[in-house]
Every structure is written in C-alpha cells, then in structure tokens.
C-alpha cells in the first residue's frame, strides 16, 4: 500500500512536471506568434486541410497543436480557446474526435517506432484512419442534428 502511495506521488510529480514543462512554453509561444504572418500561413494551410472535415479556421490552431504535441497539451489549448472564442459544440466534437484518433504524432509515434513499429503505418495509416472516422462521425452528427430539429 505504501508502495502504491509512493508510485502515486512520484508518478504525479513526473506527470505534472512534464505537463508544466510543455504547456507553459507552448502558451507563451502561441501568444508570441499567434498574430504573426508565418504562423497565420501555417494555420491557414492546415485549416484548408482539416476544413474538409468541417473544422473552421479558429479550431484549426488547437487541432494542429494537439496533432503535433498531444491531447493533454492540445486539450489545454482547446480549453483556453473555448473559453476565449466560445466554439460551438459541433466544432468541439469534431476536434475531439479527430484528436482522440490521432494526437502527439511526434512523441507517441517515436516511442513505438523505437521498439520496432513501422513508421509508415503508425503515422500514415493512423492519420488516414483518423480522417475517415472524423468524416463519418461528422456526417452522422449532422444527420442526427437534422432529424431532431427539422427545418
């Protein structure tokens, strides 16, 4: 039992420290670059890609962060931007579906490629799969919303 307590304390500290080390710099970097032109170009390019899935330019930025760095960190940006912009539920839903299928493409993929998984499959196929699932669930949500509120 004291073993559990110890694991918990050490693990929590480790978890919090890693989250802190990533979240705070990302937020500062975002503040610094958010208004800049290169950042705008990258987000616009990305939003053109994910725009096909129904995401808007506002939601593209948090989605990109989550895609690259992870759900915890991307989730942080989602929480922040939801508070700031007040995204609609549909946007948050689409973003969450996409990100729960594929996130932390850098770190997580590296961990598994390091132990022998094929990079092509774990990055390429996983991303394709995420796009397909998001497209299907987005369409399903649209159909569902329409049936409940016929207009």
């Amino acid at each position: 039992m004291s073993d559990l307590a110890r694991t918990f304390l050490e693990g929590s500290f480790d978890l919090l420290w890693r989250v802190f080390l990533i979240v705070v710099p990302i937020m500062v970097a975002l503040e610094l670059f958010e208004g800049s032109r290169p950042f705008g170009a990258v987000v616009r390019g990305w939003s053109r890609l994910v725009g096909r899935l129904g995401l808007t330019e506002d939601t593209a930025a948090p989605t990109l962060i989550g895609f690259l760095f992870g759900l915890a960190y991307g989730g942080g940006v989602i929480i922040r931007d939801t508070e700031r912009h007040g995204f609609g539920r549909r946007q948050v839903f689409l973003m969450s579906v996409f990100l729960s299928m594929v996130h932390a493409i850098v770190e997580d993929s590296l961990v598994l490629v390091a132990v022998g998984a094929s990079a092509l499959w774990v990055i390429g196929f996983r991303t394709l799969w995420a796009v397909a699932v998001t497209a299907v669930l987005g369409a399903a949500a649209t159909a569902f919303a329409r049936r409940r509120r016929p207009s």
């Binding site: 978890l15 942080g76 969450s96």
Partner: protein
Amino acid sequence: MDPSSPKPPPAGARPPAAPPTGAPAPDTPPADTPPAAARPPFFAAVRRDVRVGVRSGLHTFWILARAMIPAYLLALVLKEVGVIDWLAHTAGPVMSLLGLPGDAAVPLAFAYILNLYAAVGAMQALSLSGQQITVLALAMLIGHNLLVEGAVLRRTGMNPFLFGALRVVAGLSCAAVANLIMSTL
C-alpha cells in the same frame, strides 16, 4: 494567403483580454493587421505576450492538473486491484482477430488504463514479429491513457465514456484492418 478564398476574415484576432500597456505606440500599423488598437513598441509587446502566455499557461496547467491527478490515482488503484490482469484475460481471445497472441492483451490493457510507456514496457516481455508490433502499436496509439485523457476531454464538455469507447473500438478496428491489409500484401 490569397484573398480570393471566401474565408471569413482574421481568425487570429485577439480578444481584448489584456489591454496594451506601455507607451502609446509611435505606430505605423501594417496595413493588414486587423486590430485597430494602437500597437505598443516591439519589446513592450513581447513582454506583454510573455506575461499573458505565462498566465494562461499556468491557468491551463492548473485545470489539467486537477483533471489528471485523480484520474491517475484511479488508474493506479485499478491496476492494484487486478483490473488490468482481468482485462488482459478477457481480451485475450479478441487478439486473434488482430493476428496477435493472447498475451498481447496485457500491453494493450496497460495502454488503456495507464499509458503508452507502461504498455511499451509490457510489450518488451513478448516476442512479436514486426507486423504484430505495428498492428498492436496502432491499437495502442489510438486508445491509451483513457482515464487521464478522458478527464482532459471532459473539461471541453465532451462525454469521456463515449470517447473512451470510441477510441477502444476504433483502435481495435484500425488494427484489424491494418493486419488484413498487411497480411494480403
């Protein structure tokens, strides 16, 4: 980039959360910057951005910490009382659908309850072929750390249980499809 696309105007426009402090800008606002507010000089702007960034970073960190730590404790307790063993035992038969040995359910259960690192550790104890590692990796990459990440997701207003189920189902089916494709190639 090109103004021809029918996109709504500037997405990056900041809400006036933090009014520009400092001197009243000697300004020459570039023609394309949307906020008409006076732009503070460069260093003042950087200082303000850093300050706002640190503050919102700490705010977010606090939200995440409050969501993650209880979930992490729950995950540890679940492991302690044998839920991972039980999951691995029950899910064993499903593994054959993915072309994996029944043992592969152990790292998968570790991934679901704990995280990828624990799962990769458990995976090292098995001897798997390259294809099996890739298939298992796909299932784990899509569904992992369900409790802690579910807690984060809940903060955005989504149902963490539905999303957990989605990740398990979609992850397993992704792995199954990948296994089929790789086996026929």
